[in-house]
Symmetry: C2
Subunit: 141 residues, 2 copies
DNA sequence: ATGCAAATAAGAACGATTATCATTCGCAGC
DNA sequence: GCTGCGAATGATAATCGTTCTTATTTGCAT
């Protein structure tokens, strides 16, 4: 792993905390992590980063376009690697796992509706909160 | 205005703060109000209610089905009178005004997508953040 | 009117996040 | 490879929205 280029092109110095956070997002099982998730996972790996630094780095990465921030219910911000695509989210009410999906029909309908009301869409968020219908929820929190 | 019945049927005593909050939602220009909006408007009207009471009452009203709570970006909860219908929201990025809409096609597509992924929808929120395309944004903050 | 459970107001407490600031680090220039 | 300086960090205080605690007040059935 040598993403220093990512950081460099974003105008950010390649520091240890930043490399660690980026690495975490690229190698973690869960794509969607909160600031505290990141902080705890780093501590768990023996890394010594401050919580304040985690928040700072996440915000910088968001501004640099490396991460995308989401506001699901529950108050806390959740981040994921920016794959460049747009997608919406289903949040499992049982385990908190976040599934992604994209539906072209929904996207175009949104544009139509907004245009009809005299708005130009800048951004949107579709969050579905649902129960997994499989017998046992397959995702562990 | 005599909504004591609303309160009564919800199992809530008809107290002054509760009546005032309910009245505010029924007579305010903006349908969507945060706890602080409610608190400030009441203070402005010379009413003397505590902020804690506002939060308590809003939560009770939500549980009683009188109000619906929304989580837009920005962290704070926003409430509106429960009209019984479901609708989604467009938030004007200029003035913060919230416009409501309902699109059957979007709703059905959501169900299909969720079912296809093995989820049973419990709740969902579609928030569109957009710019008003009219020359001057007609809504004042 | 009286009493008591329920509701209130004020402020403390809380969780998530941001700001402050002294110390440390990355890295360009020597 | 060393130096120096501005940027980045970590510890902690501060902030913001919200909830909890508790002593006091209120609605309302009697």
């Amino acid at each position: 792993m040598h993403q220093p280029e990512h950081l460099k092109s974003a105008g950010l110095k390649s520091t240890l905390p930043r490399l660690k956070v980026l690495d975490l997002f690229e190698n973690s099982k869960e794509r969607h992590l909160s600031a505290e998730d990141v902080y705890k996972q780093l501590l768990g790996s023996g890394e010594d980063v401050g919580l304040a630094t985690v928040y700072r780095v996440l915000t910088q990465f968001e501004q640099a376009g490396l991460l995308v921030r989401h506001h699901f219910e529950g108050g806390k911000s959740v981040f994921e690697l920016n794959k460049g695509d747009h997608h919406d989210h289903i949040v499992c009410l049982q385990c908190g796992h976040v599934e992604e999906f994209y539906d072209a029909a929904i996207e175009t309908r949104q544009e139509k509706v907004a245009a009809g009301l005299g708005f130009a869409i800048r951004d949107h968020a579709l969050h579905i909160y649902a129960d997994c219908t499989k017998k046992k929820c397959p995702h562990k929190r």
